[in-house]
């Protein structure tokens, strides 16, 4: 049965992670010897390491073995495919894929499906033919930041976007969410929207150039936290810290620290550890034969100095509780 191409942001067959227990009951017992493989984009980014932590913490709590592998660098599409195929040949009960691109893991997915191994696509790029997706709504990252500007700067003003690598799904969606929402408000102008290839250095340079040209800029939105922290330094160097707000995406620990220090205005945290736990839970529920919706949405929240302490917890139970209460 061919599935319609998945758009994770708009798929109607979806549920929120918080409803899992309520709708499907507590997690059934896991069969002995269950082994789950995770294939991630890269470990050079804290986001993907945290996701892996989520996998293993949840798995070890339920006596499941996890192998978590990642490509050697971001963008290494064939390398990631090789890893996925090699893992499949070793026999896993379920697989969690975070593909580099929408298509690069398709052969692995097909091979896994052919052998009846469930595959969960976890975040970011979306394999259109995948049966299960766990992750957040990429576009929503940008939307949330745009809404902050609309709320806190009712007078409007000039803003700029620092994009990730050209052609990458998450970069495109986040930028589109921000730009569409803020332009719809009417009194904002996106004066620059330029790529910095996920690089802190290039983000710094781009931000410095933009500030030079638009000294009255009121804010930046960067597609990830690394770039946002580069922008922060450029803003500080230009002496515009008071005037120019800077937002990132991902909620890595350095971003939290910077928010607390007042350097970074905010970041959209998509709670990678929790996402990892949810993804693992979804995989285990699938193995137990439960019929879950195609998309399980994971939480995200705009972190600013006001709520940073609430979210900056390593206590996942407390975090779950806070997010459930949202």
């Amino acid at each position: 049965q061919d599935l319609a191409p998945l758009n994770s942001d708009s798929e109607p067959d979806r549920m929120d992670w918080s409803e899992l227990d309520a709708k499907f009951g507590a997690l059934p017992d896991v069969a002995d010897g269950t082994k789950v493989g995770g294939v991630s984009k890269t470990l050079t980014n804290e986001y993907w390491r945290s996701l892996g932590e989520g996998y293993s913490s949840f798995a070890s709590a339920h006596g499941v073995d996890v192998v978590y592998q990642a490509a050697q660098s971001e963008g290494d599409q064939l390398g990631q495919l090789s890893i996925a195929e090699t893992l499949i040949s070793q026999g896993f009960s379920a697989l969690l894929f975070s593909p580099q691109t929408d298509a690069n893991l398709i052969p692995a997915l097909e091979k896994a499906m052919a052998t009846g191994v469930p595959v969960v696509n976890v975040n970011d790029a979306v394999i259109p033919s995948v049966a299960h997706y766990v992750g957040n709504v990429q576009k929503d990252n940008g939307v949330r930041v745009a809404k902050w500007f609309i709320e806190n700067h009712p007078e409007g003003g000039k803003v700029a976007v620092i994009e990730g690598q050209a052609g990458v799904f998450a970069a495109g969606q986040r930028t589109a969410g921000f730009t569409e929402t803020i332009e719809a408000a009417g009194n904002f102008e996106v004066v620059a929207s330029v790529p910095a290839d996920w690089s802190r250095e290039l983000a710094f340079n781009a931000a410095a150039t933009i500030l030079q040209q638009h000294p009255d800029l009121i804010g930046f939105y960067a597609n990830n936290d690394g770039m946002a922290l580069g922008v922060v330094e450029a803003v500080k160097a230009a002496g515009k810290a008071e005037q120019t707000a800077v937002f990132g995406t991902d909620g890595i620990s350095d971003a939290y620290a910077a928010v607390r220090a007042g350097d970074l205005t905010g970041t959209v945290d998509s709670f990678p550890v929790l996402t990892g736990e949810v993804a693992m839970e979804v995989a285990l529920r699938l193995l137990a034969g439960q019929d879950l919706p195609r998309v399980v949405a994971t939480p995200q929240a705009l972190i600013t100095s006001e709520n940073v302490d609430t979210y900056a917890t390593t206590d996942l139970k407390a975090l779950r509780a806070t997010l459930m209460a949202q």
């Binding site: 490509a71 963008g75 064939l78 090789s82 090699t86 070793q90 691109t101 298509a103 097909e110 259109p128």
Partner: protein, 318 residues
Amino acid sequence: MNNILTKLPFVSNVRFRDAGTLVGLLLIALVFSILSPSFLTMPNIGNILQQSSINACIALGMTLVIISGGIDLSVGPVAALSATLGAAMMVAGVPVPIAMLGAIAVGVSCGFVNGALIAWGGLQPFIVTLGGLSLYRALALIYTGGTPIFGIPSEFRSIANGAVMGVPTPVIIVAILALIAWVVLTKTPLGEYLMAVGGNPEAARVAGVPVSLTKISAYMISGALASIASLILIGRLGAAEPTLGNLWELDAIAASAIGGASLMGGRGSIVGTLLGCVILGALRNGLTLLNVQAFYQLLATGIIIIVAMLIDRATSGK
């Protein structure tokens, strides 16, 4: 690929230099097969060959370019551009064979542009193809608006996903291409011209070798092979992405160099390059089987590339 190779006629001809590369490969295989029992199983060997096939396809063209004294950094983006255009044709209903020819024509054209700038424009290969790296990628992104093209016809996909007597089609295709490349290099005037142009361009010119055309041919062949690699890939993926082919140039250059090609030109071997591809493929596969963490995989890759070269140098004895 060694088990296939031994059945092919040209192995009798394997040069001494290639024996060094083979020793490197066998050592790596030995280590991995001791550490992981699944490494030397038939399905896994098939896996390795299949995974090496795309790099091998690219590396064949790269080897010819390197022999001619050049380098082609633009293979990945050329692959992306021809993949997206080819896929768009297929999706638009163009018959598969024509779309494939169209895709290859795109690759050949890109190669021609590179080659012409280098041979007639007199620019350095590195910088021309570095420019091409941005240029062709940009064209692929602009053409597709950054989104992948899905809906590749299943008749086409089944070519790339099939197998003949247990050997995956991509491996067979690349083996045939390798045979052709080997014939071109060692049996045709073009092969001699490539060696001559890379080995001593002045002597080649004085001897009346069409130096510019030879260089341009090398880049056109490289472009064609990049397209074919991309066709194999989109057949397997079922989608053509504009970001496809990222970092391909480095793998292909590494394979050629491990296989004995000299980046100063004039030297290189098809057999060596194939062995180089299998070394890289086996490396990645083995490290994954052993569940080595990504950072340590990177470490191992770096060390093994260097050690392979050292072994190779020691055994090839000069």
